[in-house]
């Protein structure tokens, strides 16, 4: 366990930003911290980074209070920027030194990281001379120049073009393989689906969903199959509803009916099946459903919310 948050509470005047939040992040995992705008994500991250103090609750980072673990934690804030008039290399060296890295080591690591994001030729140029994409890459490596064990990335893909998104994704995957713990906060659900092992979804400062992504998706999966075919017979056993959807059909299943039986029935009727799958539910739908309290992807298991929260 590298991060433990217990009953975290943070108010700003009358506004409760984080309301009794508890969760844990395990060593070496890619953890998704999700939630709509104003849900309390950034406040939670800032408390863990010791930028602000909690009103109540206990936060431990690597078994220590947040203030004592600063050197082992890297942070890419959502609101970000760098010293515009400072040279690229000097910026990285200074930020590493602030984390307690000795100057020579800092230089070495900074050069290595610049090579990794193909910015080594810009080392002695000023930050303001860099293009937007380059600055974003520089910002990203600035969060790991002190070789942290845990990395907090708040909207790392914001404003990036697809090429740079791929670059950062690759770098994150590489860091993940190296055994770093990464906490990713983003609104881009497709990236969370592609990258994260476990997620925490919060809304109004409280836990909405928390657990392994695969399990959450399974629990939220609708009891339905998706079939691409020219036509669907209307009297299939175990099927209670057929809805055309973008050139395919969504078949809602009766309770107790199994997808295999539906497939067999379709084959028996000689329907020309081009594709058949258990209907998936995009994380985005789960997110919207969980936050707005509606059902995700058609049908939602009754125990879904309570069981997971």
């Amino acid at each position: 366990m590298v991060i433990q948050v217990q009953d975290l509470m943070k108010r700003y005047g009358d506004v409760v930003a984080v309301d009794g939040l508890s969760f844990e992040v395990e060593r070496g995992e890619m953890f998704g911290l999700l939630g709509p705008n104003g849900a309390g994500k950034t406040t939670t991250i800032r408390v863990i980074m010791d930028i602000i103090r909690p009103d109540e609750g206990r936060v431990m980072v690597l078994g220590q209070p947040p203030g004592q673990a600063k050197a082992q934690v890297g942070y890419l804030p959502e609101e970000r920027g760098l010293y515009r008039n400072l040279k690229v290399l000097d910026t990285l060296v200074y930020l590493a030194e602030l984390k307690g890295v000795p100057r020579p080591t800092a230089r070495e690591r900074a050069m290595h990281l610049l090579e990794r994001v193909e910015l080594e030729e810009w080392a002695s140029r000023k930050v303001k001379d860099l293009s937007r994409g380059m600055q974003q890459r520089l910002q990203f490596v600035a969060s790991l120049v002190h070789d942290p064990e845990i990395l907090f990335l708040d909207e790392p893909f914001q404003g990036l073009d697809p090429v740079n998104v791929e670059r950062i994704k690759d770098l994150m995957a590489e860091l993940h393989r190296e055994g770093k713990t990464i906490v990713l906060s983003t609104h881009q659900m497709n990236l969370v689906e592609a990258l994260c092992d476990r997620i925490l979804l919060i809304d109004e400062g409280q836990v909405v969903l928390y657990g392994p992504l695969a399990e959450i998706k399974r629990q939220y999966a609708p009891h339905a199959v998706r079939v691409r075919a020219p036509h669907i017979p209307l009297d299939l056993p175990g099927v209670v509803g057929v809805e055309p959807d973008d050139g395919a059909f969504n078949l809602a299943l009766a309770e107790g009916a199994r997808p295999q039986e539906v497939l067999r029935a379709l084959l028996d009727r000689r329907v020309e099946i081009q594709a058949f799958e258990v209907a998936p539910v995009p994380l985005e739908d789960i997110f919207v459903a969980a936050v707005s309290g509606e059902e995700a992807g058609g049908r939602r298991q009754e125990e879904g919310e309570d069981g997971l929260a």
């Binding site: 203030g67 942070y75 804030p77 760098l82 010293y83 602030l98 600035a142």
Partner: protein
């Protein structure tokens, strides 16, 4: 407090700001001005001398003889010691002819009613400045006194009447010591400390201005969020105060050295002799007030700088502090006549005005020890208070990007955990 991080911040602040165009221009301005003056002087040296002589001719009474037309009899004949400088003429026409011929620079027409009215008509060519200047001329005054009293009083008394007093100012302090030897030393006692204090106050503002700028820039560029995730706000603040304080000192040193270099050390020597006549107590206290003043202002500038959302907004907020520090200078006219007046004493106990007020009062007069101890105590107490408030504002203000917090919100920040 992790002092290593404080050092990293201080070094970074110093090194990045010392390379700033603004700093270099400001610092180079004084030496550059010195070079210009030197070049100008060398180039125009010859002309300047002629120019100077021209002006002297216009304003000086000069050594040319002055014509006298005497209708009273007191000035006839002219006493032997004045005969080279004053020429007696029998009548107005004769004197006018001599004036037009340039034999005399001006003519004094002493009429019959002189004794009763003191009226003397002065005729001159040119602007008339010479005529006006004659009445203030010691030579002319002595000429009149000597001729009026000649033979009637003792020569010593006559001489004293011509030059009744030669002032040598001395200031008595409570210990019975006197200071101020002669006119120049006395003037330096006032002028030099006044300008030294002004100079030091300037550096307080130069340095804390950089501090404000540095905080506002970090906030504006959002880099602050990464910085405060690495160091504690109080460490960041301490590092900035230290680094930019040294930056301010660098500027003073460059200025002082350049002044010393260009004037062959004369100005600094002058300052040193001036300073030498200031009691050591005043100098030592000056340093104390300088340090305390800088630290207090710097901390407040940092806190305030953190509240603004942009550089401009932060500067406007900080303007309030600059105003307070300038108040003693606005009162300097009154301070010169009475450095211990009530309003000055009150302002010496108010933390925002105490450093400048005390630095101005100290060289001017014996300041009551209650004021010295009191103002230092007030400053020593305000600094931790400012640090506490400043660090809280800093911690929260730094992360508020989109709007400036209202006074109510600031109150909330201070009461709450921040």
């Amino acid at each position: 407090m992790d002092w290593r991080k404080v050092w990293v911040v201080a070094r970074h602040e110093y090194l990045t700001n010392v390379r700033r165009a603004g700093f270099i221009i400001m610092t180079a301005a004084v030496p550059a001005l010195g070079i210009l003056v030197l070049l100008f002087g060398a180039f125009f040296a010859g002309q300047a001398r002629q120019l100077g002589a021209f002006f002297e001719r216009q304003f000086e009474v000069g050594d040319e003889p002055i014509g006298v037309v005497d209708e009273t009899g007191y000035f006839s004949p002219i006493l032997p010691e004045y005969q080279g400088n004053f020429v007696l003429y029998g009548g107005e026409e004769e004197a006018k002819a001599a004036l037009l011929d340039g034999k005399v620079s001006s003519v004094l027409m002493i009429g019959e009613d002189y004794l009763e009215t003191g009226r003397v008509v002065v005729m001159s060519t040119g602007s008339g400045f010479g005529a006006a200047a004659l009445s203030d001329s010691d030579r002319v005054r002595a000429f009149f006194v000597d001729h009026l009293l000649a033979g009637r009083v003792d020569p010593v008394l006559r001489e004293r009447a011509a030059a009744p007093l030669d002032v040598e100012p001395r200031v008595l302090s409570s210990g019975g010591e006197t200071r101020g030897e002669g006119g120049w030393g006395f003037a330096f006692t006032f002028i030099i400390p006044y300008f030294l204090a002004f100079f030091l106050i300037m550096t307080i503002f130069v340095s804390s201005g950089y501090l404000l700028q540095s905080v506002a820039e970090e906030k504006e560029s959002r880099v602050i969020e990464i910085v405060v995730s690495s160091v504690r706000p109080v460490e960041l603040m301490a590092g900035k105060v230290a680094g930019l304080g040294v930056l301010g000192l660098t500027q003073i040193v460059v200025w002082s050295l350049s002044v010393w270099g260009f004037s062959g050390g004369a100005v600094l020597l002058l300052a040193a002799t001036g300073a030498a006549s200031i009691p050591a107590r005043v100098l030592a206290l000056g340093v104390v007030y300088y340090m305390l003043g800088y630290v207090l202002y710097a901390i407040m500038m940092a806190g305030v700088g953190a509240l603004g959302t942009t550089m401009r907004e932060s500067q406007q907020l900080a303007g309030i502090f600059s105003f307070f520090a300038a108040v003693p200078y606005m009162l300097s006219g009154f301070l010169f006549t009475n450095p211990n007046m009530l309003i000055a004493r009150i302002l010496s106990f108010f933390p925002l005005t105490a450093p400048t007020m005390m630095m101005m009062r100290l060289p001017l007069a014996e300041v009551p020890w209650v004021d010295v101890a009191g103002s230092i105590a007030v400053l020593l107490l305000s600094i931790p208070a400012a640090l506490w408030v400043g660090a809280k504002l800093f911690r929260v203000g730094l992360l508020i990007y989109d709007k400036r917090p209202t006074l109510k919100e600031i109150g909330g920040i201070l009461r709450g955990g921040g």
